[in-house]
Structure formats: structure tokens, C-alpha cells
Symmetry: C2
Subunit: 205 residues, 2 copies
């Protein structure tokens, strides 16, 4: 990796992408050991063996690196949730699994590592773009399940789709947002189960 | 008030109660100005003109004073919620008003005063007895509304009452718990309205 700084790569194309990934991988490890808030881009450059100027060629700020780390983390959660949803064809069961999977994946990623939690908490507090995109994806997934359930006749069709998806998202939010999750799940680990049941009752035709 | 320390009162009966109220009133004002965490019982005694020993006759610790302040605050919220519920005879409307009133009262009391928020946050984090009692009262209020709605035929009767009340409490919790409220309400001020509608759909017979 070190020779990357002596043999600059093109600023476009797949090679660019690879270097960004290298910086992000090294930064993830570094932040998870020394924390996100306290580390500067200079510290990071020194630790991973790139020059500071070289890092600034690919990321305009520390937050830009944090955003990519956060995006990777959120993409991982999304992937796990998609797998859980795909495991069944029954829309009500999809919804139950989605709620369970999103809580489990969020808990694991946000609490296994206090230092990564720090990045996630900054992202959530400052509402970084990656967080907004993630929220949109989760609501989109909910809409897809709702549509499927309306087609099978499992779910009611009177309430506007976007309104229903938003309300369910608001029920789930304390179990997927890092700032809320610790206070929500800690209060009652069976909460996602109870809430899924309530949501499903609200959807009955 | 000062002569209370030179003329000790009986340790029982209404007079005891009055002195406790005096200490709590003075402590509320003092904490709201100088903060709860940083103030010691000695600071407090000095500021309100009682001896430290005298305060310890009535409260075994600073937390005991904090608990009474917190209890007063929670009692105020409860009273406002009861008024809001009593304003209508229709159970679905009672539920809507309860959700709205509890959010508004909690927001006002926990956010109007950063220093009182500090006590409320300690109480919620450490799950003081007053907080547990409050949670029980709120769930009891919910059960009463649910029972009324089951009698009028507005609400379904299949789901066990305690399970339904707990699930609705879990939906409301991010809007009444001081640790969660700021992150919940800030995200979407219309959330309580959307969530009330979802809860009411879940209760339809």
C-alpha cells in the first residue's frame, strides 16, 4: 500500500476507487482503535503511511472518510435486512423479520465497537447525507413489503402507502438509530417483537 | 424558613412534610440554576440556609432530594395528561389526546430547563423508583382507555389487555422519556400524530 504515495494513480476510474477503499479500510481500523473525534487527518495519514496531501486528493475532509465508513456500515445492515426479508414469501412474516434483523444488525454494528459507534452517532446527530439515504432505503423496503401484502390481501389498502410506511418507520426508528437504540433495546429486549405484532394488527384488512 | 433549623420540628406528621417540601422547593430552584450533578448537599444547605445535618434529617442523600423533584415533575405531566384524557368521552380520541399531551408536557418540562433535564436524565438512566412508578401509571392509564374502548366497541378485544397496553406504551416511550425525546421529536414533530393513527388502526375491531 505504501508505494501508492510514490506512484500517484489517476484521479479517475477504478484505480481511484481502489485507493479510496484502501484509505477507508485503514481509517476504519485506525478510528476503531483511537476514536473518530480525537483523530486528525494528519494522525491518520501518519498511521497508515500515506501523505496528508495524498489523502486530501481523495477525501475533502475527515468527515468525508467518516461518511464512507458509515456508508459501508449502513450498507452491511441493509444487506442483512434484505436477506432476512427474502427468506420468506409471506408479507406479514417479511415485516416481522425485517424488524428483528434491523434491530440485531444495528445492535451488533453500533455496540460491538464503541469507537465505530462514535462515527455512527456523529452521522445520526448531524444527519449526514449517507444517513438520509439509508432512511430512504429502509422506507422504500417497507413500501415494497406493504405493496406485496396489499396484493396478497394480507394488508389493508385504505391508508395511503407513504403514510403507512412512514408511521411504521417511526415505530422502528428507536431500534435502528444509534442514539436511541441503547435506551430502547435496553429497556425491553422483547420490544421489537411486541411492536411487530402491533404494526401487523394495524395492517389487518 | 431559617428558624426551622433552630427550632427542630417533629420527625413525623404534617410538619415533617412541610419541611421536606421547603427543602425540595429551594433545591429545585438551586439545581435549576447551578445544576444537579455538580451541587453537593453542603452547597445546597449553605445556599438555602439550612444546616447540612438538618437536611440529612429529612433526606438520606442528594438523590433522595432529586427523586422528590423528579416525582413532582412527573406528577405534573400525569396531571396534564389526565386533564387531556378527561376532555372527551370517545376512547379513540382519548388515546390521541393522551399521546399529544404527554409529548407536549414532557417536551416542555424536560427541555425548558437544561438543569432539570439533568435530573430527569439521571432518573431515567438509573431507573429511579419514581420513574418506574410513573411508567406503571402511564400503562395503567392506557389500560383504562383500552377497557373503555372495548366496552364501547371501538377497540378489538382479542389481544390480551396488558400486551396491548405494553405495546402502545413502547410506541409512546420515545416521546415521553427524556433521553429519547429530543432525538425523536426533533426528527419529526408530526410523529405523535402519525403514531396515534397507526395505534388506532391496530385497535380497530
Amino acid at each position: 500500500m505504501k508505494n501508492a504515495s510514490t506512484h500517484p494513480v489517476s484521479a479517475r476510474g477504478p484505480v481511484d476507487h481502489e485507493v479510496r477503499d484502501q484509505v477507508v479500510a485503514a481509517a476504519t481500523e485506525h478510528f476503531s482503535r483511537y476514536g473518530y473525534e480525537k483523530t486528525t487527518v494528519s494522525d491518520l495519514a501518519k498511521a497508515i503511511g500515506f501523505s496528508k496531501a495524498y489523502i486530501y486528493k481523495f477525501f475533502e475532509s475527515k468527515q468525508a472518510i467518516g461518511e464512507m465508513i458509515c456508508a459501508n456500515c449502513l450498507r452491511e445492515i441493509e444487506a442483512e435486512v434484505r436477506v432476512a426479508i427474502a427468506e420468506t414469501d409471506l408479507p406479514p412474516e417479511k415485516l416481522r423479520r425485517m424488524f428483528k434483523a434491523i434491530t440485531q444488525a444495528s445492535l451488533r454494528l453500533f455496540t460491538q465497537d464503541r469507537k465505530l459507534y462514535e462515527i455512527a452517532a456523529s452521522a445520526a446527530t448531524e444527519r449526514w447525507q449517507v444517513v438520509q439515504t439509508y432512511e430512504e432505503h429502509i422506507q422504500k423496503m417497507l413500501e415494497e413489503i406493504l405493496l406485496a401484502g396489499r396484493q396478497t390481501g394480507d394488508f389493508e389498502r385504505k391508508t395511503p402507502l407513504d403514510e403507512t410506511a412512514l408511521a411504521i418507520y417511526l415505530v422502528m426508528r428507536p431500534y435502528l438509530n444509534p442514539l436511541l437504540l441503547q435506551h430502547s433495546y435496553g429497556f425491553n429486549p422483547e420490544a421489537p417483537m411486541h411492536l411487530s405484532s402491533l404494526v401487523l394488527r394495524s395492517l389487518s384488512p
